[in-house]
Amino acid sequence: MTTFDALFGTMVGSRGAYVVYALLVGIGLFVLVDDDNLVKKIVGLNVFQTAVFLFFITAAYRADGRAPLLSATGPFVNPLPHVLILTAIVVGVSITAVALALVVRLYDEHGTFSETAIREARP
């Protein structure tokens, strides 16, 4: 196994990775709520969502697990969460797309990404 595998395995094995995800959730939500720039809010949303996805995938980790291929043998990593998260990533992408489309419309009208400026300018 590579150094990365060992490192990752240790982190996951000691549940340290979950702390990282919790931090990411916090960061994502904070940026989403606090930042004035609309695009950064979307970034915060993505960070938040990504943290949740990472949680799921890490839960699928299995020490000494291999990729679940028909031709392989031995203990396999749980494939189900990966499948689920692929779906969720697609959902996240669509949401980001819609959000960005809305931001583009707002930018075209107001020339700024700042939420406070747009609120003040509303008729």
């Binding site: 949303l45 949680f55 669509s94 949401i95 809305l102 931001v103 008729p123």
Partner: protein, 491 residues
């Protein structure tokens, strides 16, 4: 019959391609085909309802896979009612209220239907997340409409809050998966009991799932998106969202609490039950308080929905058959009443330029049918007999008294008075205040109702919705009896 359930979801999803492709070049054909698809969906819903009535609940696993690994769909007495509600509302609103149709927005309409129907029939908690997001995306885009930055900003906030909610729900699903290793609702029910209801994993999962759905229901303190979104959307979209947008997630919450976690979970973790009651009471209080302070009628109605959803959550928290029946009846009743009311706001806005409570002064004379229907719908929201709103509150009060939950009894009875206050304001203005000078039609922002026959069709919809609140109320015993096998099965 065996493939009706997946058809319920497949038809609107595939059908969404039709207006997207044809909408630009052949708008008339596109609109007609969309109507056909929506009516077809109604037919499917009725067929499923009849089948369930004849032979009981039916399940289906997509792709013919074994139940443990496949995505399951399930139709029982309760879910078929909501599927039918979705289909009928979408079709009726499309035909009567919606006039400014374009290909892409019609696709969104159909995708919204697909998402909600999926939420109602799925038997897999992750699948529910996917449909939650599908319906959510469609809703965000429908709210944004085709023009206007006010709508875009409201839609943006709706999107942010809604996605946070859905992602929290996903996290809760993750916890459930980690705890049990399964995602099917039937399997989860057994496995969660085995894991132990007081395990922190299960409790956290419940909290996350509930908060996630609570965002969609606009429970306090996550309700801020609702008045903003419903006030800026076009009348047809706001009517569609008000009727269905919180109702189906409400049903999903009922289903998750009682079919997956079960009432035993609420018994085992009293803190959760208390938390639900607190959230419900707070939503009732906040909804009522804010509704009284609103001058824009659509915002007032949105806060009224917050109040009604609070009552639903209280019913879930009490968790007796009468209480759960109350929650379901309240969901249906609120949906029907709100649909009619939002469509009526469209009539008043387009024809008279009236959007505020004061602006409604004297419109009872100018639009007697609409005003009469609005009054009846408000009577249902207040909870006076013989409407369905009264039936729901009756069941809820009976359940609360039975459980000796006196605070809840007081809150529900007081909510009637609060609802009376905000409803009375509007009804009184409609009938008794002098009409302001000049009632020429005023052009509102784009996407409203055209003049003439479209408006008449909208009035028909409003009147039918108002009549429905009374008719469903008179048939409330039958409705409760129809729900009873499923509700008793849960409890």
């Amino acid at each position: 019959m065996s493939h009706l359930l997946p058809l319920l979801i497949a038809v609107p999803i595939i059908g969404a391609l039709v207006p997207a492709v044809l909408g630009a070049r052949r708008p008339v054909i596109s609109r007609r085909l969309t109507v056909g698809i929506l009516v077809g969906q109604v037919g499917l819903a009725v067929a499923v309802l009849v089948a369930v009535a004849a032979t009981g609940p039916r399940t289906y696993v997509v792709g013919g896979l074994p139940a443990a690994v496949g995505i399951g769909l399930r139709a029982d007495a309760v879910s078929t009612v909501f599927v039918l509600l979705v289909a009928v509302t979408a079709a009726a609103l499309y035909v009567t209220v919606r006039t400014d149709t374009t290909g892409p927005t019609d696709s969104l309409w159909l995708l919204f239907v697909a998402g909600l129907t999926g939420i109602a029939v799925t038997a897999d908690v992750f699948n529910l997340y996917v449909f939650l997001e599908i319906s959510g995306l469609a809703a965000y885009a429908l709210v944004a409409g085709r023009h206007g930055t006010r709508a875009a900003l409201a839609a943006f906030h709706y999107l942010l809050v809604g996605t946070i909610g859905a992602t929290l729900y996903l996290l809760g699903v993750g916890y459930l998966y980690v705890a049990t290793g399964t995602l099917g609702m039937a399997g989860l029910r057994a496995d969660l009991a085995a894991v132990g209801y007081d395990s922190p994993l299960v409790v956290t999962a419940f909290v996350l799932v509930t908060v996630g759905l609570g965002v969609k229901l606009a429970l306090f303190p996550l309700q801020a998106w609702k008045p903003d979104a419903y006030a800026v959307a076009t009348p047809d979209v706001s009517a569609l969202l008000a009727t269905l947008g919180s109702t189906v997630p409400g049903y999903a919450l009922v289903r998750l609490v009682f079919d997956v976690f079960t009432a035993s979970f609420l018994d085992a973790v009293p803190l959760v039950r208390t938390g639900l009651v607190v959230v419900g009471v707070a939503s009732v209080a906040a909804g009522g308080y804010f509704a009284l302070r609103q001058s824009d009628v659509r915002r007032l109605l949105a806060y009224s929905s917050v109040l009604q959803m609070g009552l639903v959550v209280i019913g879930i928290a009490i968790a007796t058959p009468a209480a759960v029946t109350a929650a379901l009846v309240l969901l249906v009743g609120n949906a029907v009443a709100k649909g009619g009311l939002y469509a009526a706001t469209g009539v008043f806005a387009r024809r008279f330029g009236a959007t505020t409570v004061d602006g409604y002064a004297g419109l009872g004379r100018d639009a007697p049918l609409t005003a009469g229907a609005v009054s009846v719908a408000f009577i249902s929201l207040v909870g006076l007999p013989p409407t369905v709103g009264f039936a729901g509150k009756w069941y809820l009060v009976v359940a609360a008294v039975d459980s000796r939950a006196w605070v809840v009894v007081a809150v529900v009875l007081l909510s009637t008075l609060v609802s009376l206050a905000y409803a009375g304001r509007v009804v009184e203005r409609l009938y008794l205040a002098a009409a302001p000078g000049g009632t020429e039609p005023v052009a509102t922002d784009g996407g409203g109702l055209a003049d003439g026959p479209a408006r008449e069709r909208t009035v028909v919809f409003v009147v039918v919705a108002a009549l429905a609140t009374v008719l469903v109320g008179l048939g409330s015993t039958e409705l409760a009896a129809w729900f009873a096998p499923v509700v008793e099965g849960w409890l």
